[in-house]
Amino acid sequence: MKLKTLVAALAIGFGAGAFAQNTGPVRIGFITDMSSLYADIDGPAGGEMIKWAAQDFGGKVLNRPIEVLTADHQNKADVASSKAREWMDKEGLSVLIGGTNSGTSLAMSKVSTEKKRPFIAIGAGSARLTNEDCSPYTVHYAYDTVSLAKVAGTALVKAGNKSWYFLTADYAFGYSLESDAANVVKANGGTVAGAARHPLNASDFSAFLLQAQSSKAQILGLANAGGDFTNAMKAAKEFGITKTMKVAGLLVFINDVHSLGLANTEGLQLADSWYWNQDDASRKFAKRFFEKYKRMPSSLQAADYSAAANYLKAVQTAGTTDSDKVMGTLKSMKFDDFYSKGQIRADGRMIHDMYLFEVKSSKDSSTPWDYYKTIAKIPGEQAFTTVAESKCALLKK
C-alpha cells in the first residue's frame, strides 16, 4: 500500500514537472544571498528587479502567466543546488537566475546542465562558469574576475603603476581574482611584489597592510569583496597606506563606496559593468529603483532586470520555453537596453562593454550617489577572456 502511494506520488511529481514545461505558468527562479554580507548588492532587491521585468513584459509570455520564485542560499552551495533541483523537478522551472557567490553558482550550473535548463549567472564572479566549467545551458551575464582584472589592471599598469602587492581573500574567488589580475599586470610589463592572504570575514586588516606597506609596491590590489573590502579600505586609510600606495579595488560595488563614504574612497579606481548615472536610460531605471529603496541600484540589480527581460524576449521569439530552442535564440540575439549592448558567445559569456571608474572627491560630487567618473570604456572583446585564451570546448567547434 505504502509503496503504491509512493509510486503514485512520484508519478504525479514527474508528470507535473514535465507538464509544467509547456503549459501553465512560466516560472523564473532566483537564488541569491538574501540575508548575509552580499544582501545589499543583490539580495531581495535583485529579486524584485526580476519581478519588475516580468511586470513590464505584461505579466504574461506566450499567453502564460510569469511567476518569479526567490530563495536564500545562505552562501551555501548545497542549499543552492538542492533548491534549484527542487524547483526544476517539482515546479517545472523554465530558467534559473543565480545571484552572488561563485561557489553557489558553480553548483547551480551543474544542476541546470544535468536538468537541461537555462541558467543565467549574474552576481557570481568566477570566470570558471564560462571557461573550465562552461556548459551549453549556462550564461554568464554581468561581469567576471577576468574582466575586472583586465579592465582595472591594464589601465593602472599603463598609467605607470608597475609594481603590485595583493591583499587576497583566502578562498576560491580571491585566488582567481588575484591570479587573473597578476597575469594582466605581468602581461603589461608590471611586476608582483607579493601577496598576503586573509581569512574570509576578517575584521582586522592592520597586520596584512603593514606587510603590504613594507613591500614598497606602488599599487595595493584588493582581491576581496563586500565587508572585507570595506574594512581593508578603512584600515588602509587609517594607517596612512593610501599616502604611499595607490589602492585598486578589484571587486567594488557602489554600495561599498556609499557605506565607506567619499572621504575614505576618493581616488579609488574600480571596474564595473554599469553605473546608474551613465546615461538617460540608466538614470530612469535608477530613479524608479530609488523611489522604492531609497538607494541607487548596483550593477547586479540592473543586470538582474536586464537578464530577465531579455530571457522573456527570447521565449517570445522562440515561441516556446523549450530549453534548447530558447538557448539558441538567446545566443543569436543582439541585446540593446539600458544595461548594455552585447551578445552571448557560444561559451555562454555575454560580451559587452566594461567600464573603469574613479571615485570622485566629495567636492566634485554634486548630488547624492554621484560617486563615479568614467575613466575608460573598454570594448567587450578586450575586457573578457578571448576565444584564444579560453579552455571552453564550446568555443572550439
Binding site: H198, F239, L260
Partner: protein, 294 residues
C-alpha cells in the same frame, strides 16, 4: 636585525597590532567572564550587544548629533539598560534550569537583534569616522601607529583593571562573589541579591557596548560584526578559564599577540590559531589556564 627571519621593525609592529586586537578580546571576554561567573549564563548575545553598542554610537551621531565622547558614555548606558530589561524579562526565569537554556535564549536574542539591524540598515555597514582629537598617527620609528589604536589599548586596559579591582578588591565585589557561592545566605544578611544579579548583567552588556563604541571608528559598523568576533572571544574565555576575571584579561591580550604573530609567520593559520590553542589547553587543563579545578 632579524627575529626568526622577520625584520625587527616588522616584528615589533605586529606585536603592537596584536596587542590592539587583544585589547578587544580582553574587554569582551571580561564581560562574558563576569556574567558567567556571577549568573552562570553563557551569554551568546554578547556579540550582538557589542554590535548594538557600535550602532548606538552611529545612531547617536547621525540622528541626534551626539559626538564620539558622548556616545562613549551614553551608548554603554543605553545597552546596559537593555541588558537589565533582558535579565528581568527573560534570564531571571532560567537560573534554576540547566545552563543550556540560558545559552539557547541568548543565542536566539542575538539572531533577533542581528536580523532587526540587517533589516533596518542593510548588510554593507555604516561608516563612523575617527574623532577629530584622535585622528592622525604617530611615527614610532618601527611603524606608524594611528593615535586612535593607542587610545583603544589605553581605555581597554583601564576598564579591564578597573573591573578586576571592583570585583576582587572591593566590598561590593565581595558581595557579588559571595552571592554566587550561596545566594540564600547573602540574602539573609540583608543584601538584595536579585538586584545585584540584574545590575551585573547590565554591566556586562555595557562592557560589550563600550567595546562596540571603541571598535566603531576602526571597522565598518555592520549587523554581523558581533558574530564575526564572538566565537573567538568564547575561545578566549574557555582558554582563560570560565569565570576567571584576571584570566580572561591576560588571555585576551596574550591571544591577540599570538594571533598577530601568526599573521607574520603563517597568515593562513591566523584565523584558527586561537582554536588550536584552545584544544591543547582543554586537553591538559580542562578548567582553563586560570580556572579553578571543580
Amino acid at each position: 636585525m632579524e627575529i626568526f627571519g622577520i625584520p625587527l621593525q616588522a616584528f615589533l609592529g605586529q606585536l603592537l597590532l596584536g596587542l590592539v586586537n587583544g585589547a578587544f578580546y580582553a574587554m569582551l571576554s571580561l564581560g562574558l567572564a563576569v556574567i558567567f561567573g556571577l549568573l552562570g549564563v553563557v551569554n551568546f548575545a554578547h556579540g550582538a550587544l557589542y554590535m548594538l553598542g557600535a550602532f548606538a554610537a552611529w545612531i547617536m551621531l547621525n540622528k541626534f548629533g551626539i559626538n564620539y565622547w558622548g556616545a562613549l558614555l551614553l551608548a554603554p548606558l543605553t545597552v546596559g539598560l537593555l541588558g537589565v530589561v533582558i535579565e528581568r524579562l527573560f534570564l531571571k526565569h532560567l537560573y534554576k534550569l540547566d545552563p543550556l537554556y540560558g545559552l539557547l535564549l541568548t543565542f536566539g536574542l542575538a539572531l533577533i537583534f542581528e536580523g532587526i539591524f540587517r533589516e533596518l540598515y542593510g548588510a554593507s555597514g555604516q561608516n563612523y569616522d575617527v574623532p577629530e582629537l584622535l585622528s592622525g598617527a604617530t611615527n614610532l620609528g618601527f611603524m606608524v601607529l594611528p593615535n586612535y589604536r593607542a587610545w583603544v589599548v589605553l581605555v581597554s586596559l583601564l576598564v579591564c583593571l578597573g573591573t578586576w579591582y571592583l570585583i576582587e578588591r572591593t566590598r561590593l565585589g565581595a558581595y557579588l562573589r559571595a552571592g554566587t557561592e550561596n545566594a540564600a545566605l547573602v540574602q539573609a544578611f540583608g543584601v538584595n541579591v536579585p538586584l545585584m544579579v540584574m545590575l551585573t548583567y547590565g554591566a556586562g552588556a555595557a562592557l560589550a557596548a563600550l567595546a562596540g563604541v571603541l571598535a566603531a571608528p576602526i571597522i565598518q559598523v555592520n549587523p554581523l560584526m558581533g558574530s564575526n568576533l564572538i566565537i573567538v572571544v568564547f575561545a578566549v574565555v574557555v582558554i582563560g578559564g570560565m569565570g576567571s576575571i584576571m584570566g580572561s584579561i591576560l588571555t585576551g591580550l596574550g591571544l591577540g599577540v599570538v594571533e598577530g604573530l601568526t599573521r607574520v609567520f603563517y597568515p593562513e593559520a591566523s584565523s584558527i590559531v586561537v582554536f588550536v590553542i584552545m584544544v591543547i589547553v582543554l586537553m591538559f587543563r580542562p578548567a582553563g589556564l586560570f580556572g579553578k579545578e571543580a
